[in-house]
Symmetry: C5
Subunit: 280 residues, 5 copies
């Protein structure tokens, strides 16, 4: 029997951009109140349109968050059907008058991704049992069929609406490729097993945390981005701390910067620009 | 008997924000004395209100420190009941006139945390002896009861007043997840033992140093923040140097930047803005 | 028989410069529309000339891309016959009026390179069979002859036209020289074998991705630069993710920053400067 | 016999601040000559006062150095009796008119420290021979007595005058805590032996280099700072290169940035501000 | 027989400073043509004087290079008899009007160094055969005599003229001190052997590349700086790539940033300031 592939199948959905901004309060406060109001309205109207997303097709929404700490004051996240559409968002924002006061400090570019470890193992095994060889047209057709079926079934999670939870926790991460510890040389079955255990922890938090995983290999400096949405920010710490002890995180995960924000609906943007955080 | 959990129990309290600022002396000194006085008064009044904290409920205080070195001139620390409240502090500060002269250089976001290694081991063992299985509702109820009891008993330390000591030393830290040395794969009992030894050193310094540990997994780029308050800054070096030889620090600790500040009560802020450090 | 060389033969072509820029929208938008149009025309004319390249000799083209994320707004890539010519491009751009609004954020300097692992092994073996010794004039002449033949045969790929695909993915990379894992001490035959497997993956994507490898040892901070051109940006992720599991990437690759851009033909530059991304 | 402590005894002296500045020559040169002279005189008078230090008690001196390279143009080092006094120096400098042209680029905060490896070993052994147990009041009293005696004997080196040598070399350093190589888990006797060998090299350079070691655990981002003072800058290279082969440096040392400066006495500051370096 | 020293002998020559600058084209282009010409002439005259160097004694020359990429636009290298003289160069440059448009982005400080591995081994062996003991006055006198002889013989390379080649490649490097791979604990004979092999590669490129090695232990953040001068920039890649497979580089070398420049003689500086690169 030939070697089975070691690459897990994945299905992809929305293109995603995170934008983190510093807000130049000094310049902003030097504006006359009327001008502030006009600029704020223009920006809030744009954000409202983006929050609403598409009437047809995928949701294609955006959302704003008031960031804590020195990494930024404001974070926007955008889900769109293509990178070109995300680039248009950037350009459209840069044409607003508010953008004069927004200095981009960080960003993250990725694509909603669902890794199908379980499905991959079953599919590879069943295709091999039929006597097919990896890479042949018949094998590829078999894989293609599974991917299409999964993409269909998972469409609502691949092109998600943005959860309305009060807090967002975002961070990028890698799987380690160290000298002794290397995720990418571990047998497929071991990786599948570890990912399963990892998923079981997430499942226990499913009531209080909504998670969106995006892949960024080829798009940004880490391999994945993780967005966690929750009303109670304490569950971020509980969930990630518990996961840090599971094997796939303890041994193979490497983490980037963490960003924590409080949801800022477009209707509250004008108050925020007056220094008020109104809880939605 | 089933495997016991490897995640230690923790109880949490105040949300905490550290803010480090550069002060733009050149711009400040170009102001007329009267304007300086008005701005200083506005800022000192705000700081005084924040120092005082809440009349009811948790202390929810802030404090200011004059920082040494190029990492910043001024540090503010804030303890509040929620991240949204901390965000409001940031927004309120940004509305003051003094904020025009404060350029944020660093920050740290975390939550007061007490790790209950001893209690976890006892609880897990006793629940297992009763024949309960981890993750079952009965087990969870048993754990919940311990957590509630501890949170109650430890409330004054979970929602602390800010100690009035003359110096503050702050630094973030991680437990290592290296290729051979990995805190998160060590057996619970070994971790408990090492944490106990670690705590014994701290206890010998309890008269001269007050320590507040905050957890930042999910909130900021390191796993924990450590605040040490002392009148004599020499004890910071003595304590941390001694700890560096205990096993949990020597082998498993990895440290971020260190910040050292001298307490700056709101009543002395106006003098500081004239270049005077009055010792409280 | 003497030791054969462990250095693979390479042939080189165009000198290549990547330039990433932030665009100062605030300053740009403050210009009168007429001045914007004049500046945009000047820049678009220059880009059009660079896109066209040389009428004779090598293509020597340039291309522009609208970048996603905070690493930059605009990326230019230039293929030229010499580093001096690339430097002239930089100087010529700096003389345009548009350059006032372009702040360079990153760059990458390299030379189109094709590694001839297969050819090297055969050549070394055949020269050794003839009884020649590495480093002797006869040996060097034999090598020289192979290099000349290959350079001739590969000329269209060594001095490539810039593919017209919609997306560009660029990243630099190294081969690891770790304490246990060291590409440069692996036997030539093993490296040849791994590179062959690596190339087989690329070949399966040849219909949808066009790849240009450039060497930058001695020119920039990583050893190689990789440019991937594709209409469908999803294939970047698919290709690089699959490669991450092959041995040479999983074990020996270390990656720098990733840049993703959407092709911006000179004819669309003026629209882009008005905030519009027109797809070519 | 109980385990002896693994922490070496140390005695401490002056609090030390290094400040590195960029000088804004463009702004400075735009000033009228008269204003330059007035500002230069004010700064030189302050520096002269700081150079002179205290008439009574510890020297408490400062010194200026003209830095080479892009890390800064000017370095000030300050020895004072407390961190509050160092903070006052920072504030006093920020009130001068010259400070408008000084942009701080780096700093280092530490405390003069002498590690007593030899003395520690003898003391621990002798107290243990008397049947005392580490941590008991009798043990601590025995240790205290040694520390007091040493602090007294070493006072001139703990509160040093600043050597008048022509060059200063400053760098921070750590002892490694790697996965296999960990200074902090080495037996006390081995560390003592390595430190002794290390010291023997320094002793051979004693005629040409004056060394001041400061500890910064708890105060800054490295564990120690090293200041070397010499008339002939070649000896810095000779000394540090030779030490790099001794065991404690070769295996256990990790180094930060290096700063090299030429002594700039207050009397030469005005010339320096006219672009002249007069050798003292 | 006593242990022989493990530190190789070195002889030193010129003090060397590399300065990398960004040029502020926007500000420069806003100047009237006449003012540009006057400023350019002043700068070109200074550079011409520095290029010429000393009429007597060591060459003490400087040279300018037009840099490629975002790390800088212009690089100056200076060879002088002392660090104080290099500091005077910095100060003199800062007094020119052109310096207003030059923002320093990087620098490197070092001293021409020749490592005498072969000579060291022979000298140590011969002194030991005479029954001398390392560190005794007789031993030191024997070593001193060798150093003086070598310094004399190598003087033209220790105080070199700056080669007139068209391209310069500069990079800093370290020898690794890893946990298993540590140059500084390798036996002297092994290091000597590896350095010999390394040198043999360089020798084969001697016709097309001129190399200057400078030591920077104690002066800057890496241990050595490497300057390669060549008319054909391709040989930089060929040479360094080939060396990367020799043992001392493959296993023990760690590299910093790479800088590539095109020679800019003082006579061409005015054209360069008009955006023209004239090849010398």
């Amino acid at each position: 029997m030939p070697d089975l592939p070691s690459v897990p199948l994945t299905v992809e959905g929305s293109c995603v951009l995170h934008q983190m901004f510093h807000f130049d309060w000094s310049a902003w406060k030097s504006l006359p109140a009327e001008e502030q109001q006009a600029i704020a309205k223009e920006a809030a109207d744009l954000l409202a349109r983006w929050e609403q997303g598409s009437a047809t097709g995928h949701p294609n929404q955006s959302a704003a968050f008031s960031l804590l700490g020195h990494k930024g004051d404001l974070m926007l996240i955008h889900f769109r059907d293509s990178f070109a559409d995300l680039n248009r968002i950037e350009l459209e924002l840069s044409q607003t008058r508010l953008s004069h006061y927004l200095k981009i400090s960080h960003s993250y570019l990725s694509m909603v991704e669902m890794g199908l470890y379980e499905s991959s193992a079953k599919t590879y095994a069943s295709l091999a049992e039929k006597g097919l060889t990896p890479g042949t047209p018949e094998w590829n057709a078999g894989v293609r069929e599974v991917l299409d079926r999964q993409a269909n079934a998972l469409a609502p999670r691949l092109y998600p609406e943005i959860p309305k939870a009060k807090h967002l926790c975002f961070y990028p991460m890698d799987r380690k490729r160290g000298e002794q510890v290397n995720w990418y040389t571990e047998p497929m079955a071991d990786r599948q097993h570890m990912m399963h255990e990892h998923g079981m922890i997430g499942r226990r938090y499913a009531d209080s945390v909504r998670q969106v995983i995006t892949g960024s290999i080829g798009y940004d400096d880490w391999e994945w981005g993780v967005d966690l949405f929750a009303d109670d920010a304490l569950v971020f710490k509980k969930l990630i701390y518990e996961m840090r002890f599971d094997r796939v995180s303890a041994v193979y995960a490497s983490f980037g910067q963490f960003f924590l924000g409080v949801r800022l609906p477009s209707g509250n943007l004008s108050s925020w620009l007056q220094g008020q955080l109104i809880e939605s």
